[in-house]
């Protein structure tokens, strides 16, 4: 991209090159409005899609009465929740209790702002023409791009944590403890697998990341698959979706963090949860599957990008539902073991292997040899880690009462 544009709040969007006038503001507002409406409708359809799909996988029928194929079931549920009595527990922290649903909801909306949902990347840089104004098909393209996603997903943790804490009730409190531990643990693996993508694309801007993957150069194979698998698992944990839904484990914690919530506040939590599922799927598509990239099969330049993006998005939404239908919930120690002992070392090691590949290319070394040496080093380190874990477990078994003193 051109270096002429200085970093700004609105980022590198060509819309703002010629200064910001009324037309630019209107175009921006239109994009914001479309993104907002899209997310709300998408959540409605996603909940229906998930319920329908999971009931198919469980030999059931699922929602079938509200509208054709029960497609308005979510709408009916929303209206019902809206008119239900809103209870605030006596022993709750009222301010935080009321604030928490919005702390989950607002980040869910904001994350979507940096996702390029379309645009022509086959030769172009993703610009489209909206009412005669050149712009990207994303609400904004800040220079910090993907860091905004990480920051907002960290903020979303507060929504769940404070909801549980402020309820003044023991099960929500336990859930909030779990939520904070789980989300902090998987944030590390999330960041490390993301670093592999950043290493390859060399930019934080989502538009740049997508441009780098033009047509078939998708990060999925550019980073050799593993970072995407780690990212997908870590995202599932971040979203508190099954099999990592310990935060709302019904068998153990009643409803988890939202036990004490009712009416519209409860609905907001679920809106946020499903919206996060959609936005995080969009982020995976952007980071690993080239976003709107794909061979142009239409005559209209921008249409192919949109279609590719939504096809990939639906693929991931299907994957999340499929995971939920197939896998039983993790136990808490299994969750921590998977996060700390497998995903974090794996993504860190993979990042180093990718880096060695790049460095070997820069220095003119034999790349295959560099990667093989790195893989051998990583295997040795993995063996050491495994040995250390086994020794620690052995010592625990010898002295079960032993503490950390």
């Amino acid at each position: 991209m051109t270096a002429v544009l200085g970093p700004s709040v609105f980022g590198l969007d060509p819309l703002y090159i010629g200064g910001v006038g009324l037309a630019e503001v209107l175009v921006t507002l239109l994009k914001v409005g479309v993104a907002f409406a899209f997310l709300l409708v998408a959540v409605m359809l996603m909940i229906w899609f998930e319920r329908k799909l999971i009931s198919d996988m469980q030999n059931r029928i699922g929602p079938s009465l509200a509208g054709p194929f029960g497609i308005f079931q979510t709408l009916a549920d929303g209206i019902k929740l809206f008119f239900k009595e809103d209870l605030i527990p006596e022993r709750s922290d009222r301010l935080v209790f009321k604030l928490a649903p919005y702390l989950s909801l607002v980040p869910a909306f904001l994350v979507f702002a940096v996702v390029p949902i379309g645009g022509d990347f086959n030769g172009g840089d993703g610009r489209v023409s909206l009412f005669g104004h050149e712009t990207f098909l994303q609400v904004s393209d800040p220079p910090v791009g993907i860091l905004l996603v990480l920051a907002l997903s960290s903020v979303a943790v507060y929504g769940v944590m404070l909801a549980g804490w402020s309820s003044g009730s023991k099960y929500p409190l336990l859930a909030s403890v779990r939520a904070s531990a789980q989300m902090v643990s998987y944030e590390a693996a999330l960041g490390l697998s993301l670093a592999a993508v950043l290493l390859k694309s060399g930019s934080l801007s989502t538009n740049q990341i997508v441009s780098e993957q033009a047509v078939w150069n998708w990060n999925l194979w550019v980073t050799w698959v593993v970072p995407m698998v780690v990212f997908l698992i870590a995202v599932t944990a971040e979203l508190n979706r099954p099999p990592f839904d310990l935060v709302e484990a019904e068998q153990e914690l009643v409803g988890g963090f939202h036990t004490e919530y009712s009416s519209i506040r409860f609905a907001l939590f679920f809106l946020a949860e499903f919206m996060n599922t959609i936005t995080m799927s969009a982020i995976i598509v952007t980071l690993f599957l080239g976003g709107p990239n794909g061979p142009d099969f239409t005559t209209v330049g921008w249409l192919s990008g949109l279609l590719w993006f939504f096809a990939k998005l639906v693929l991931f939404l299907f994957t999340f539902v499929w995971l939920r239908a197939t896998l039983p919930r993790f136990r808490y120690d299994q969750l921590m073991d998977l996060g700390w002992k497998l995903l974090i070392p794996l993504s860190l090691g993979w990042l180093l292997v990718l880096a060695s590949y790049d460095i070997a290319g820069d220095r003119g070394w034999n790349r295959a040899a560099a990667v093989i040496v790195m893989l051998a080093v990583m295997a040795a380190l993995a063996a050491l880690l495994g040995l250390a874990l086994r020794a620690a477990r052995h010592r625990r078994e010898l002295d079960p009462q032993g503490g950390f003193a």
């Binding site: 198919d56 996988m57 030999n59 499929w322 239908a325 197939t326 896998l327």
Partner: protein, 225 residues
């Protein structure tokens, strides 16, 4: 990879019409499954053939109730106009259906077979007070059948075999008592015959291992179809 086989299983289920994708849902209000013979529904308070109430107000049912939904107060029978044979009768008898879990322990505890359960479960209320059934509502009518109250949705067969457990194969749990009448008569029915025992079923058609009385069209004693 054992982990991945599960994904294949759930994916195969997506396709309806296949052996694994068969839908098991019963569209409840539109289609209803037949009820088992010993279905635990709304209670009834039985009476003897002469119209006397069986309840003696002993409160054993209230004592055994894990949900504490039964409230009983006994009173002395007036010698001139007794409600039940013997000294005492149930003066107050109330069941709170917001609490009842239909475990049938009250039926097992009852020494006089006064309380049994019908197969009615489709009833609802609009207030907490309405959820408490009083003795007037629970006691059987003069024809020996449960009263069908306006807010209850009775279906054919719901009011039959209300005392099925009592007349089970060997109520004491001992095989010696199989087929022997060890229960009292009921208003409108008299002394009902014993149920055909499980042993008899197995002898007549060996290898036919239906769960007792459930979904079995050849059921000699069910009559629930």
């Amino acid at each position: 990879m054992g982990y991945l086989r599960g994904f294949a299983v759930t994916f195969r289920k997506l396709f309806k019409g296949t052996a694994t994708g068969r839908v098991v849902t019963t569209q409840y209000p539109d289609e209803k499954r037949p009820k088992p013979v010993r279905f635990h529904g709304r209670h009834v308070l039985n009476r003897y053939e002469d119209g006397m109430e069986k309840c003696i107000g002993c409160e054993l049912c209230a004592g055994v109730c894990p949900a504490r939904c039964i409230y009983v107060r006994g009173a002395d029978n007036s010698p001139d106009d007794p409600v039940s044979p013997g000294e005492r009768y149930g003066y107050v008898y109330e069941i709170n259906y917001l609490r009842c879990i239909h475990c049938d322990l009250c039926v097992e505890a009852c020494p006089t077979e006064a309380i049994t359960e019908s197969k009615l479960f489709e009833f609802s209320f609009t207030s907490r007070a309405d959820a408490i059934y009083t003795k007037d509502e629970l006691v059987v009518g003069d024809d020996g059948r449960p009263q069908q109250l306006p807010w209850e949705d009775w279906h054919p067969g719901d009011d039959e075999h209300t005392s099925a457990w009592v007349r089970a194969t060997s109520p004491s749990g001992r095989a010696d008592y199989e087929g022997k009448v060890a229960w009292s008569g009921e208003l409108g029915y008299g002394i009902r015959p014993p149920e055909q025992g499980q042993a008899a079923d197995e002898a007549s058609d060996s290898g036919h291992h239906d769960r007792h009385g459930f979904d079995d069209p050849h059921d000699a004693h069910g009559g629930h179809r």
